[in-house]
Symmetry: C2
Subunit: 184 residues, 2 copies
């Protein structure tokens, strides 16, 4: 598998009142999701923020681990952070993915809530066997704004556990989805 990408969206997302907002970067998201990406063969991990100061913060973190002291101390972290790419918009990320592989890009939204047409990870796994690029899209804060959800080609079933509690961290959700999508 060399056709799966991750995207972590900081705008447009919603707050707990479901108002559209832009969220601040949580640097541990970059680490955890990059490490999970390396583990499960993700080709690139896009961190999407329109805010210049937040993009600068992401760049600082990435540089520390890919070119600075961090990577010399911890080569495993260096490998992971090398997968991270920062863009201002979701559209720019999709465009870069298209440019990289010259294949159609299938965008797959994730959510903690059930979407009326959502598909199973099994279904997405079948898609991944094809040639198209696929990007699994995660929202920060209280999740992706509806407008972005609706714009995606597919909506993935939420992760359900043993009850109806649905408050996993985005870091945990990404790890579980990647495991489900790549293991038998």
């Amino acid at each position: 598998m060399d056709n799966l990408y991750l995207a972590l969206v900081h705008f447009p997302v919603v707050n707990r009142k479901n108002d559209p907002i832009g969220s601040a970067l949580t640097t541990i998201d970059l680490h955890d999701m990059a490490r999970a990406s390396m583990t499960f063969g993700v080709r690139g991990f896009y961190v999407i923020t329109p805010f210049q100061d937040q993009a600068n913060l992401a760049d600082q973190v990435i540089r520390h681990w890919t070119q600075g002291a961090g990577g010399r101390l911890n080569p495993g972290r260096k490998q992971a952070l090398e997968l991270v790419r920062v863009t201002q918009t979701f559209e720019a990320a999709v465009q870069q993915i298209y440019t990289e592989r010259r294949q159609p890009v299938v965008t797959i939204a994730t959510s903690a809530k059930k979407h009326k047409n959502s598909v199973s990870t099994r279904k997405v796994k079948q898609h991944l066997a094809g040639k198209a690029s696929h990007v699994l899209v995660f929202g920060t804060a209280w999740g992706l704004a509806q407008e972005l959800m609706d714009k995606c080609d597919l909506q993935l079933d939420p992760i359900t556990g043993t009850g109806d509690y649905n408050h996993l961290s985005v870091r945990s959700a990404a790890a579980i989805y990647l495991d489900r999508l790549t293991n038998d």
Copy 2:
């Protein structure tokens, strides 16, 4: 399932040179692993540290979310943090688990490295169908010290992805194991 517990060990663990150390608390571990615990029906999540200042920090975090302003703003987080219990030693956690259910306690060590006798999550799932209590044990820093690994009743297979990279965060690893153990 009402017989699964989680433990996060801060001593004895090892550093990157494999020297035995005690590690500092990472507060996001409490949040992420508590949220995954709530999601997958874990009965209690033990945070184990012999250091009084670290135990105090854990207590502060827990109180903020279970009794303070945090829980009023975010009831989902309150529910999760209510699962967290702090003990000084691993043995004290096992004793508490025994006292709670009056059933044998099966201890299951996790590691990013393959242990010679390690068992699959499928095998552990079969165990969980029985009456005994089970505790899934995670190490912070560079993982559980060998002495604690060896003391556990079972060693769980490491999570393998699509290659040989094995540097998931403990938060991601816990989420994946819980998903594998509780879903079909």
